[in-house]
Amino acid sequence: MKIEKANVGNLTNFEVFDFLRSRGATSDPMGCIGSVSPSECKVFEYLSGSPACMQTRESVNEFLIKADKFKFITTFEKLNIVNSTPTVMPALYATIKDCDKRIAKEKEQIAKENQLEEDQLQELLELVKEIFPLPAEELEELSQ
């Protein structure tokens, strides 16, 4: 076997979910037999329980375009955010490596623009909530 190219491109969880779904995987493990293998079915099951199952190609593209203006996050962090769709600030902190240190550095750089760094994070969080809304039952649970 020859590895021609180890990494042709990263895939978001949504893309893998969509690919397995198009091959015939379903949430019902018995229904998967014949079209996909049991191991693919397990991956599909895991992804069905993650935010990826609620996403669409358009929403992921929209997020990536709109998140471009936040210069302090890298492509991998954007991938992290798309895969985990944080809805609260601590979860967003978790997806961005060394968040506090980067904020302090960013503060010096954008001081002239007079914008607080936390505002940027809050804006990012609002963008995530807008493009990847939680399903109705989860919202109800949270408000209770």
Binding site: S37, F76, N80, C99
Partner: protein
């Protein structure tokens, strides 16, 4: 978590798979089946766990070499969907078990995820029932949060290792895992999903 990997392989197609394939023009299906047998659910060192065959880009050849039991050898180029989280990625899994060294988490299709004690939320200790408990102090009030089995846990990947295959294994040692992920949960937003 996932990415595409392009590989090239000289694939031997056994004759019983060739006959129906050539007749129906479904040679590609037969090749796909063989590739899946070879790679699906297997770990390729430094690439990760193969989840699926994404597509077959090209195949050529089909020569039958002497001494090959009538197998036709095709040079196949295909792309595989590999699972290998990058360092720093945040993943949600389930706590599968715990021991004196720490926790073990699972994603359903992959279970060799370890969260050693030094990477867990501090301070924590192990209770009498074996479950790890996080002691959280705020304003002189102490809260105890236990990390129960089957709870959903959000962790960040610290490293992905591929230990070499052992030549000999004693009977009592735990089964060999070709790919091991180490995670940590001592940070904002990490730990049990229900905490945040």
């Amino acid at each position: 978590m996932f990415y595409l990997s392009q590989i090239e392989r000289n694939l031997k197609m056994p004759p019983h798979l060739l006959k129906p394939s050539l007749l129906d023009g479904e040679l590609e299906k037969g090749i796909r089946g063989e590739l899946e047998k070879l790679y699906l659910d297997k770990v390729i060192t430094n690439l990760g766990l193969c989840i699926s065959v994404y597509d077959i880009q090209s195949f050529e050849g089909g020569f039958i070499f002497p001494g090959d039991d009538g197998c036709a050898t095709y040079k196949v180029r295909c792309r595989l969907v590999m699972f290998q989280p990058f360092v720093g990625e945040v993943i949600v899994g389930k706590i599968e078990s715990c021991d004196e060294f720490g926790l073990q988490a699972s994603l359903g299709f992959f279970s060799d995820i370890r969260i050693p004690e030094r990477f867990m939320v501090q301070p924590c200790h192990r209770g009498e029932d074996g479950i790890w408990v996080w002691q959280f102090k705020v304003d002189n009030e102490e809260f105890q949060y236990s990390l129960d089995i089957d709870e959903e846990i959000r962790f960040r990947v610290a490293s992905v290792k591929y230990p070499p295959t052992p030549v000999e294994q004693s009977e009592n040692s735990k089964p060999f895992s070709p790919m091991e992920i180490t995670g940590y949960i001592n940070g904002d937003g990490l730990g049990l999903v229900s905490w945040w």
